[in-house]
Structures are given as C-alpha cells and as structure tokens.
Subunit: 482 residues, 2 copies
Amino acid sequence: MSSEQALTTRAADFSAWYNDVVMRAELADYSPVRGCMVIRPRGYRIWELMQQALDGLFKATGHENAYFPLFIPQSFLAKEAEHVKGFAPQTAVVTHGGGKLLDEPLVVRPTSETIIYAMFAKWIQSYRDLPVLLNQWANIVRWELRTRLFLRTTEFLWQEGHTAHATADEAEREARLILGLYRRFAEEWMAMPVLTGVKTDSEKFAGAVRTYAIEALMQDNKALQAGTSHNLGQNFAKAFDVKYQTTAGDTEYVWSTSWGVSTRLIGGLVMTHSDDNGLICPPRLAPLQVIVVPIWKSDTDRQGVLEAAQRARQSLVDAGISAQVDHRDAVKPGAKYYHWEARGVPVRLEIGPRDVAQGQAVLARRVGGKAAVPLAGLPAAVHEAMDEVQAALLEAARARREANSIRNVKGREELKAFLDGAGGFAYAGYCGDAACETAVKEETKATIRLLPDEEFRSAPAPRTCVWCGRPAATEAVWAKAY
Amino acid sequence: MSSEQALTTRAADFSAWYNDVVMRAELADYSPVRGCMVIRPRGYRIWELMQQALDGLFKATGHENAYFPLFIPQSFLAKEAEHVKGFAPQTAVVTHGGGKLLDEPLVVRPTSETIIYAMFAKWIQSYRDLPVLLNQWANIVRWELRTRLFLRTTEFLWQEGHTAHATADEAEREARLILGLYRRFAEEWMAMPVLTGVKTDSEKFAGAVRTYAIEALMQDNKALQAGTSHNLGQNFAKAFDVKYQTTAGDTEYVWSTSWGVSTRLIGGLVMTHSDDNGLICPPRLAPLQVIVVPIWKSDTDRQGVLEAAQRARQSLVDAGISAQVDHRDAVKPGAKYYHWEARGVPVRLEIGPRDVAQGQAVLARRVGGKAAVPLAGLPAAVHEAMDEVQAALLEAARARREANSIRNVKGREELKAFLDGAGGFAYAGYCGDAACETAVKEETKATIRLLPDEEFRSAPAPRTCVWCGRPAATEAVWAKAY
C-alpha cells in the first residue's frame, strides 16, 4: 500500500481497514515466514511502553522475572491430560539439532507451565519456599492456519506469570489480583474499557480449574479476549509432583496460578480507538507523543521558525515528553499533518512566523480540535492536553461499548437478531448447561465471553435462561469474538 | 549443593568453583532440556540491569528496537555462502507444525541477519530510507555439545543490532561506535576491563568483512570474548539484493553492520570478580545492593532494632537504592552474613541495640572492610561506598589483567611456556600468515584474540613474528579462551 492512497474505511471493510492502519502506521509487516510477523520500531515501542507499565505493576505486587527454556520435551506436555489435548495440535516441533535426529522431539513452547513445574518440583520443599511469584517475558509459538497481524500469529510475544502457593485461598486471591491489574492496565494505559469475569468450562485454559478474563468490545462490535488469569488448583502440582512440607509437618501439593497478556493487546488498542484517517494511540502508550511542524513560506522566515520548533521540542523532551520536529523541506505542512495523523501521534504543534512573533504555537489534538497555546509553559499545556485526550478516549470507548450492549435479552429470537445484526455484548440469563452454550454458538457463532463479575451484572438478575427458558443459574455475556 | 557446604575454591577447581558460585547465588539452574538453562530471578535481574544500560546507550545513539521472527526458512540461511557454512551445523530445525510435515524446514534463529535482510530489501528504496539503525532483544539457539551455565548454552538471550548505511565509511564508523559502547558498558557497569581490536580472518563472524571485539581476562587467565561488532560490507546486501537509489540517481547496494552481546556477559561478570566465598557483583548491576541485618539478643531489644532496620531500608529505597531487611528469626547474624556474601550483595548494614542507641549502623562492604556510619545521611554514605566499590573492582581487575599479561614475547619457546604455564594475554609480533596462527593453536590451544587497537599496542612495536621470525605485519594478543 503506497503512503499516498487513502485507507480502506471501517464501513467498507473493517478487516481491511485494520490491516491498512497497522501497515500505514508502520506498526508491523508481513514476514516471509508463514504466520509470523515483523514488529516494526513503532509497534515495538508500544510494546515496550506496555511492558514497562505491566512490569511495574507486577513488581509492585512482589513478582520477579525469570527465564525458562524455549524448548519443552514432548513428554512433558503430555503429563497434564487436559493441557496436552489443548495444545498438542498447535505445536511446532524440533526434530533435528546439530545435524542429528533427536532422541525425543522438542516442542517450541506454546505456554510454559510444564517446564516451569519441572523446576518448581526442584525448588519447592517447604512452606518457607512459598509463595513463588514468577513472571517471564518471552516469545510463544502456536501454529495458526489463519493469521492476522498482532491478533493471531504463529509466533507472538507475551508475559506469562506462574505462581505457587500454600493454600487454595491464596491461589484464588492471586488469580483475582492479577485480573485487577490487567483491568487497571487496560483502562488506565490503553484507555480500553474491559469487562471482567470468569470463563465457562468450554472456554477455559487447558488445565485450569477457573479462568478469569478481561474482554473488550472492538469497533466492529466483536469481543477481544485481552488477558487471562488462571486458577490452576493442584492440577499441575499433581502432574509434576510439586509438594511442600506444611507448618504442621504434613506434605501437600501446592496451589498455583498462571496468567498472561500478549502483543495481541496492540491489535486491541488499534481496533478500539483508530479512525478512517489511521491510528489513534492513547498518549501514555504513544511511540511519539508530539510532532512539531514548522511552517514557512519565505526563506527569511525559515530559520526563525525552525529554531522556534527546535526550542519547543527541547522543552518537551526535557519534561519527559517524546517529541520530534518534522523538518523535511520537500514536504508541505498539510502532507505532514496527514502523515502523522496516520501514525497516531496524539498532539501536533504547528509553528509559523506569526506564531513565533506572538510567542505561541497551535496545539492540534489527533482527536479533539485545536487551539493556540503560549510557548512559555508549553510542557504543562501539552501534559494537560494529553491527560484530557487519554481520559476522553476511555470515555468514548466506554460509551460506544454501552451503546452496543443489550441487557435482559428476552429469548432466542431477540438474542439471534442482536448477534446476527450489528452485534455487541448481549447480557442474558444462562442455565449453566453447556448444551445451551453450544446451541447458541452453532446458531450465531457467538460464544459466552464471560460470566460477569458483580460490578457488570444486571439488576435485577435475569431469571430464566435466554435459550432454554429454564431458571437462570447466572448471567452471561455473549458476543462474537476474535 | 546444599547451602551449608563450602564452595569449591578457585585454586582447587576453577570450573567447579564457577558452577558453585552461580548455583549458590541462585543466578541460574540446570533444566531438564539438554543444553538449556533456567535463568533464576537473581540472574535475570542482572540481565535486566544490563539491558537497561545497553538499551539506553543504543537509543542515545539513534537506534530503535524491533522484533523479527524466531523461525528462518532453511533456504534463507544458504543465501550467504560463508554464513551458512558457519551456522548450519549448529541449528535446531523445526520439521513439523500444527501436526503436519512442513514443506520447507524452519531453522530456529542462530542469528537474524538473513530474515532481517529479507525485510530490508522491502523497506529500503532510496537514500532517504538510510541509515536504518535497528536492534532486537531476543532468544537465540545454537546447538552446543558441551555447555556451561551462561558461558555456552544451546539457548541464550542477547541483543543483536542490524544497521544499513549509504556508504562504506558510515558502516565502518557504526561498527566502531558500537565497539566503543560495548567497552564503555563493560568497564563502567560491569567493572570488567576489556581490550578492543579486530579479529583475524579465522576468528571473524561468518559473513563479515571485519569483526571487532572486546576481550576480557578471567581469573583463570583465560580470555572471554564478551561482545562483537561486525562490518558486513555489502556481503548480505548482495545476498539479499538490498539496493538503494543514491542522491545521484544511481543504484547501489547498502553497506551494513551487525553486533551483539549476550547473557554470556553474566558468566564474565562472575569470573571477573567473585571469590571463594561466592559472588561479587559490581553495585551498578547488583540484583540487591544493600542487605540490612538486625542484631538482637534479648526480646526487649528486638522491636527497636527491627524498627531501626526498617527505617534504614526505607531511607535507602527512597534514594533509589535496592535494599532488604533480613528479619528471619531462626537464623543467626553470622549465617545471614554468609548467606548474603555468597549472593554478592555489595553492602551489608549491621544494626544492633548499641547502634540504635548511637544512631549508627555498621557498613560492611562485600570487598573492602567495614566501618560505622551515622543513620542520618545513610543514603549518601551507601552511595559513596558503592561508588568506591565499583571503582575498586575495575581497578583490581585491571591490575590483575596487567599482572597476567606479557609483552614483547621473544619467540616460540617463551610463548609456549607462558601459554602452557599460568597463561594470560601474550602480546607479540605476528607476520599475518594464517599458517603461524594455526601452528600456535595446534601447539598451545591458544588463539589470537585480537589485533589490538592503537591504545593497547606495545611501543616500540614488535619487529618480528613470534612464531616464524619473519617481519611482523602487526601485533597480536594470544590467549587460551572460553
């Protein structure tokens, strides 16, 4: 796609629009390796900013980073019955190393529970060794037939937390704590509102007792599972014989959790905020926060305008704001605006000869209009604008989600009409029988995204199952999903 | 190895000592996967601190991070003749994905030049697209038969820089710039003095025109290649057809570089500084900088001492120093000292009832004695101690290296006696003929580590080759190496 062409619009083809936005903003590119993408510097910078924020949240709650092998002996994967059923079909397998056929094939990690529990068994002996609170930043491989940049690729980057505890209660609290951190990160950094809740058995992690998740609604009204936190009970502890001596002197299996978010979040960020002009990026995660565009017509103006632009940039950089000057001679201001809009820079500063004379710049927001600001005190004005944009993006996304949610769906026909129509989150009663879940999926392709947490439940609670009409055991949120 | 046993001493068995230090300090552990290690939180924290420092140096010189696929089609590796010869025997090969035999096997990256140049060919069209200054933090796989924790493992973590330039001069300047950054990092952060210079053809990177390196001398007088920076000329550009339009309108191949350091640096850090009591870690890279040990005999003292210890810790943490209190009840102070010494904590603060009464603590350095310091102004005292330790470690390592270097080696017998004896760096004249290099290697197992840069050369320059007696073309530094 040439950088001159207009992007596909969301209305014309949401999926093509998404690819156009990602490519035009230079977040990622297709690689010659089937199913694998290249994350370009602008995309990787978003990931670095995400990592910094998440890593800070994890460390502040006592977690430490470690690193475990990329390769997992095939036999390890088989030790937990549900786990191997879930992951074996998706693995990439190394059969040769150093020019020789291996005695046992090695799987490229599709997740690291099995290799980590083999080490837990070595490290954990006593209640004094607990809790173990680890996290790993790593690449993961799951063979995918149909791939989408960031959303579904054979290789992706993620963090995976793995913790072991002395009691079931502690493990449950940990899984819930992390769910809260994920929600906070999604809302405060990504400006992406999420629902929280628990997955049904059919959607939970292979090997988990309970899977919690955050779910966001994209602009095409499809749901994106943006992070999961699993209470693994003693399933993996039993499979890998991870036992500890209790304070009473007994021996017990540990209780454990695992949890992760991935580069898929970048896809979620794009689909939550961007428009037909390209990427819209919340200021806290923007690879570049401010672009300064100097404007001149005559050569006599040029020098003064460029100097003022450089001074403005320096004042921002000194205040911890990332900023660049677009000083390309051969490109007109309008083309520069267009260029940086597509790349999602939240704030543009325009500085012309009259602005220099008046000691001001024009501050244009990627979303939200423009106004003159004095060059003295520029960093404060930019900080204020970015804070407002950050908050406005979250509010807009929340309002959109609520406008596209339907509560108290009365029965099959209403549910089908909603899900087959514009789509969105459908809240309805659910009897708890997997047969109803399956039936809805077969008829509409929608799944139960969550059994929502208290905060997101309807009042009064729905009394009957939307599908079978029997008494509702709970409320569920249905949607088509990525 | 139980935590009660003494470590193997360096004199008894340097290699066993090294493993003991790494294991006792909990930097790493053996994994059930052949040739792959687990990097434990204390080891990974050193790597994180190394990453922060290096990433800052790279970004300050205009480099950006990106991420390229883990898998490389086997045919890509073959495109540069020297490259495939160097790396093909060491590869791990994925033959199956998603349950099916792949049409073309995929190599797990042993380095990423080939996949990156395939992308450069797509991104680089014009002189306006140059230079491209990329870096990637990634895992790498090179099949190894004999492995050592951190020093040589089948999987390791590294950074790999890849840059493309419009001229040969620019590429050469880049390779040299990075060599300088590596030296600065080794000396200022790791307190590990290094020689810089260029590799002979037999030791250079497979596909490079010229390989620069930093080389350090370990305590067993063996050399460790700690980082390399390659001028690749147009070799990879030609293999992958990476061309650009010059300002004059002609088409030319780009000139390029690549460069890397890895988790091997952690092994170098251990072998440069540590002693028979365990890890010694330079304060700038210490996972934990200060351990506070409260000392009490009676229960009446306990509360006051613990509170003073907590206040001391908090004052340090507020000043950006990492600090913990060892408040284990069942462990005696002496055992705590021993515990934290083995883990390389640079500064220990002992606080007893009399210290509390006098408003002081005893500041004990991991290396360099102990003295009382007032609790008021503690952060400044600790900063000063850490700065002194950091500088003293570098000086001690430099003095040790110089004491174990021999210059102006007169001929074969002297060279052999030195290299077969205590060992170290041997500086001598070299005719430039690979036959002499090979002969020395066959007789002594030592290799030419570097043709040293100006700063490290002897004056007057040696006039004859140490091996053949013909006129010397240059000076070379020989040593046995890891």
